[in-house]
């Protein structure tokens, strides 16, 4: 994934690899604490970076509880609310929703890297309902960058970040980007692209 030219913008590191690892451990502890019936828990990572995070949480949960929850991927793209208005565009060639386990009656934990407007999670909820009727759905996010446009809040949060409306919060993961790091890119006047979230 080609992440623009970093020299063109001012970058502030808000999470290092160490703080990210600690945040993931805490997320896993909170998930394990809140869900006594770990056998009914499944994780769905929202593509693209929610998936490797979900895999990490599943490994941590297996270490802590002895139960390794199954992990799947949720694309959410076909349920985005900006596509039907002609504002957003469907990105071609992206990975698809994939999970092999039934979700009827399961406790589904949605995992995403960044929550912002909350619209991705709204789309994820709609998509999930088309696959079945989970017993409950919870949300785990590594970073909350604020700017909510819908009444949706994470049940488990790794790190709150104060970012301006036009700042970009970028999560980099070893699995997808070669290193673990979360940075804020302060916006320059000519670069107003809003963060997806």
């Amino acid at each position: 994934m080609n992440e623009h030219d970093p020299s063109a913008r001012e970058e502030t590191v808000v999470m290092t690899a160490e703080t990210m690892a600690e945040a993931c451990r805490r997320l896993a502890r909170e998930i394990a604490g809140a869900n006594t019936d770990m056998a009914s828990v499944v994780l769905l990572g929202i593509l693209r970076r929610g998936r490797p995070l979900a895999d990490r949480l599943a490994r941590l949960l297996a270490e802590m509880t002895g139960v390794a929850p199954p992990v799947g991927s949720l694309a959410t793209t076909l349920y985005r609310d900006d596509l039907r208005s002609g504002v957003g565009r469907l990105k071609p060639g992206v990975a698809e929703t994939y999970f092999e386990f039934p979700i009827n009656g399961a406790t589904v934990i949605l995992v995403d890297d960044v929550i912002a407007a909350g619209r991705t999670i709204r789309a994820a909820l709609d998509e999930l309902m088309d696959y079945g009727r989970p017993r409950r759905i919870q949300l785990a996010c590594l970073v909350d960058r604020g700017g909510r446009e819908l009444p949706i809040q994470p049940d488990y949060l790794g790190w709150p970040v104060s970012a301006g409306e036009n700042d970009r919060v970028v999560v980099r993961l070893a699995e997808t980007d070669g290193q673990d790091m979360v940075v804020i890119r302060r916006s320059l006047p000519e670069d107003g692209e809003a963060e997806e979230g």
């Binding site: 992440e3 076909l78 596509l83 039907r84 565009r89 469907l90 997806e196």
Partner: protein, 325 residues
């Protein structure tokens, strides 16, 4: 959506492959797999809400089961409302003009009109005068763009599978198209599509069924089946349009079968890996032996599956790209 900047879809209608650029064709092919996944859901609802509350009208003046069903299903899987009009039930039999009929449909707020008509150019004429997004589902001998797109997607899938390379293109892939080229809008759209995608196309059939202008389309032409398929990656058999054979363009069906049928014998000269395609409906044992049509090398049913997804991708791109007339 910051990572890559895919080209934007900027057309109101899909009339043919000829005017499309390679990136536009690839945008459709790259958008389709997400819709293949929707139809492949095992327990989930096989539907997404991208065309919710929109009206898609299927308007077929020529008999068609496969294409009409495929379009209808594509619309339904995008959550659109659908309406079907066929020639025998429409007011056309009472003498109403195409434009008047379409104006009446549009007065009911249609968003997409899928039209099949025997006259070449009919879809284009409607597209310029009406606001609905027009999709050409076959106009005379001119084009059948969605067939070519689903064929290209199927070929690309198979080539990627065989090479174990998820990004392989059709560059250099050899495609032999066999049969009645001159009456075939499928052949014409496929030639446009495949040559734009970098494939090498050989057309093969009786010389009486080979249109004279075909030499200008950047393809090889032969009347020798063995020569056509000797190094083919894809063998594409066209349907002999028995209903259009009133003018006796080849001496007999038996002679056509002897010279051009794809069967266990004739396919021996082709590479082992070459797979078989057909746009349907098949005249079994005329252009293609039943044995091969049902065999392991046939990808005919994959074509049908991909057809729904490609049509979903096209309807989504036309309706949701914010292109107005």
């Amino acid at each position: 959506m910051a990572d890559t900047a895919p080209i934007a879809w900027t057309r109101k209608d899909l009339i043919g492959i000829e005017p499309l650029s390679r990136p536009e064709i690839e945008l459709i092919l790259d958008t389709a797999p997400q819709f293949v996944a929707v139809s492949a859901r095992v327990s989930g609802i096989r539907k997404v809400p991208l065309l919710q509350g929109r009206l898609v009208v299927n308007w077929f003046y020529e008999p068609s089961t496969r294409t009409r069903t495929s379009f209808e299903l594509a619309a339904k899987r995008l959550s659109a409302d659908t309406l079907s009009i066929s020639a025998s039930t429409s007011s056309l039999v009472k003498g109403e003009s195409l434009h008047d009929t379409l104006a009446n449909i549009e007065a009911m707020r249609s968003d997409v009109i899928v039209i099949r008509h025997k006259y070449a150019g009919s879809a284009q004429i409607l597209a310029t005068r009406h606001e609905s997004h027009i999709i050409n589902a076959g106009d005379g001998r001119h084009e059948h763009p969605t067939q070519a797109l689903l064929d290209a997607l199927t070929m690309r899938d198979k080539i990627r599978e065989r090479r174990g390379d998820a990004t392989a293109s059709l560059d250099g892939v050899r495609v032999a198209i066999i049969g009645d080229i001159s009456h075939s809008r499928v052949a014409r759209s496929n030639v446009w599509c495949l040559t734009k995608l970098g494939a090498r196309v050989t057309l093969c059939g009786p010389s009486t069924l080979m249109p004279p202008e075909i030499g200008r389309m950047g393809v090889d032409v032969t009347t020798d089946l063995g020569e056509a398929i000797a190094d083919a990656d894809v063998i594409y058999a066209l349907r002999i349009q028995l209903e259009r054979q009133q003018r006796c363009l080849f001496p007999s069906l038996r002679e056509y079968i002897r010279m051009f049928r794809i069967d266990r014998e004739s396919i021996k000269v082709a590479p082992e890996h070459a797979f078989i395609m057909h746009p349907g409906p098949i005249n079994r044992d005329i252009e293609l032996s039943a044995e091969l049509a049902d065999g392991k090398r046939s990808v005919i049913l994959e074509q049908v599956t991909n057809g729904v997804a490609v049509r979903m991708a096209i309807m989504h791109l036309l309706v949701n790209s914010g292109v107005e007339n």
